[in-house]
Amino acid sequence: MKARTGWLGITLAVLGAMASVGTLWMVFFWVPTERTMGVVQRIFYIHVPSAWVAFLAFGIVAVASGVYLWLGDERADMAAQAAAEGGLLFTVIVLTTGPLWGKIAWGTYWTWEPRLTLTLILGFIYVGYMMVRSAAASPEQGKRFAAVVGIVGALFIPLIHMSVYWFRGLHPDPVILNPEGPTADWEIQATLYAGLLAFTLLFLGLMTLRYGVERARHVLELREAA
């Protein structure tokens, strides 16, 4: 089981790494410079895939947490923990690359605009998810509390996506997932899709390897308890 998980993780991560190299080539050599924003628009190709992966990760956390609360399956908790760590990392990338773009486009690193604020809160929720595990009276209690936090946190995902429509803010509207269909040039769309694929594969691979860490820890705990 350990070897199978390891090779699956390695395979997905290597495919993701190869796709990432291809995406970097597209970003810096192939896609034309966007007319209005100029070269700083290239941050979009790391910012949007990171946001997608963060949402995917927190979706996995919610589903796995639900399964853990329902069935009490330890593997679901391990999967949730692995996904939460990756989701938090990609949220940090979103919250770092966004302000770098914002400084050039808006003239400020940060503004308490609805989408930015909600994304920051989402990041804090998953920091809380990590902390709750260690702060609880017992590991089992920590896992249950964390599962509840994971499910509640995922409710922010549709809220963040819809915030640009519901609230008046500075954040640009989606250029792909909008009601009128994609509005960006095809080269921009192709580069973005390549980035989405690359980061998705990379995340799934690394999450699988991270799950392997939890499996190994679980085996060790069982041995020590025996």
Partner: protein, 76 residues
């Protein structure tokens, strides 16, 4: 075996990503026209460097934890 493959992939990816970012940004100089040089380039470089730095850091962290746990399991 898994650790060695992971380390090789990590190293290769880091080299290609750095080379791609550096050469690519330089190559764009020719096509920029009205684009001002300086800050936008620096910010694009910073965004990719921070993003990939964090991802590579996560890879290293996973590999180290996995290696440490596997050692303990093998020892026991």
């Amino acid at each position: 075996m898994i650790r060695r493959t992971l380390a090789s992939c990590l190293f290769g990816l880091a080299l290609v990503a750095l080379a791609g970012a550096w050469d690519g940004l330089a190559a764009q100089n020719a096509n920029l026209g009205a684009q001002r040089l300086g800050r936008p380039y620096l910010f694009v470089f910073l965004a990719y460097a921070i993003g990939w730095g964090l991802i590579l850091g996560w890879i290293v962290s996973i590999a180290r934890r996995l290696r440490s746990l596997e050692r303990r399991i093998d020892r026991d």
